[in-house]
Symmetry: C2
Subunit: 156 residues, 2 copies
DNA sequence: ATTAAAGCATACCAATACGGTATTGATTAA
DNA sequence: TTAATCAATACCGTATTGGTATGCTTTAAT
């Protein structure tokens, strides 16, 4: 499946609402209402977003949340990392953890290349892009010219 | 973390051994010995590889496994799909499952673009590439010219 | 035909991760 | 001072995953 967590997905949804709101601060209640997410879930999401510096929080009465930077400056990579930690496809790649399987494991180092490519993909797409389908299609067209035998998978 | 399963990683390790062996058939015992993986684990891995058509099995005495195609024809996308099913970052993208969160969820459709990009990345890299670090570095250099602000992450 | 080598299928268990929820505390504008 | 609002922590049930065990089927070699 190669999936990302639901929280990450929620994070994007929330960021979208904040982008929509612009300078206006949104409370957790506002966000819950706008997105349809449960309140405690929203809290959890907001914590990750604040901790990662993507969103600024103001406490106290009439407080709320707003984006810390412009949507064009918020990369999907940032969002994914905020919720899932560093992008590391394999365990070996994450820490320099010695694995007990033999020399074949030297291959794992090679996932690093794929890691890099995927990281680049996520770094290319910003919140602004994802809010604008046209821009996105353009990205897909431009970034990687298709090789002949590529099979496009599971685009619902 | 955006990780893939360990089994997928093991799968690549096993495929590497099979590529090394060439025309020679390897038994589960051989594979376990070469890779250091436990025998039951090897069985599980082989089942997935056979089911997906990447590897051919010959049963009976003097049987064993061999690659179904040349290493250059085995894409990482195939391997990932063999173990993890279709690449679908979000749940919404997987089936046309109606989610209960509001219109903001239309965003999820936009993950589709990223989905496509990542799928393309995985389709570009073959078993042959991953066995050859030089080739791989070349891929990284060629495929996606870096934009200025890209931060390379966690390459151990 | 028999036998032994080898793959195949299934089921089970433990550990971990994840999503979801609740509760209490800290801050700040009005 | 007070009420609104974010912050932090802790808890729990479930789902997934990795790992293991067991018994069955196929097939080459003798």
């Amino acid at each position: 499946m190669l999936k990302i967590g639901k929280l990450t997905d929620y994070g994007v949804v929330v960021l979208n609402e904040l982008a929509q709101a612009g300078a206006l601060k949104l409370s957790t209640d506002d966000i819950a209402g706008l997105t349809g997410l449960a309140l405690p879930t929203v809290r959890k999401v907001m914590k990750a977003l604040v901790d990662s510096g993507l969103v600024m929080a103001q406490r106290g009465a009439r407080g709320g949340y707003r984006l810390a930077r412009a949507p064009g400056q918020i990369r999907m990579l940032d969002v994914v990392q905020a919720f899932e930690g560093p992008v590391a496809l394999t365990e070996c790649a994450a820490d320099d953890h010695q694995c007990d399987i033999t020399a074949s494991c030297s291959l794992s180092a090679n996932w690093g290349g794929i890691n890099q490519l995927i990281t680049q993909v996520l770094a290319r797409v910003t919140l602004q892009d994802i809010r604008n389908p046209e821009r996105q299609e353009q990205l897909v067209r431009d970034a990687l010219p298709l090789t002949s035998f590529i099979e496009l998978v599971n685009l619902s």
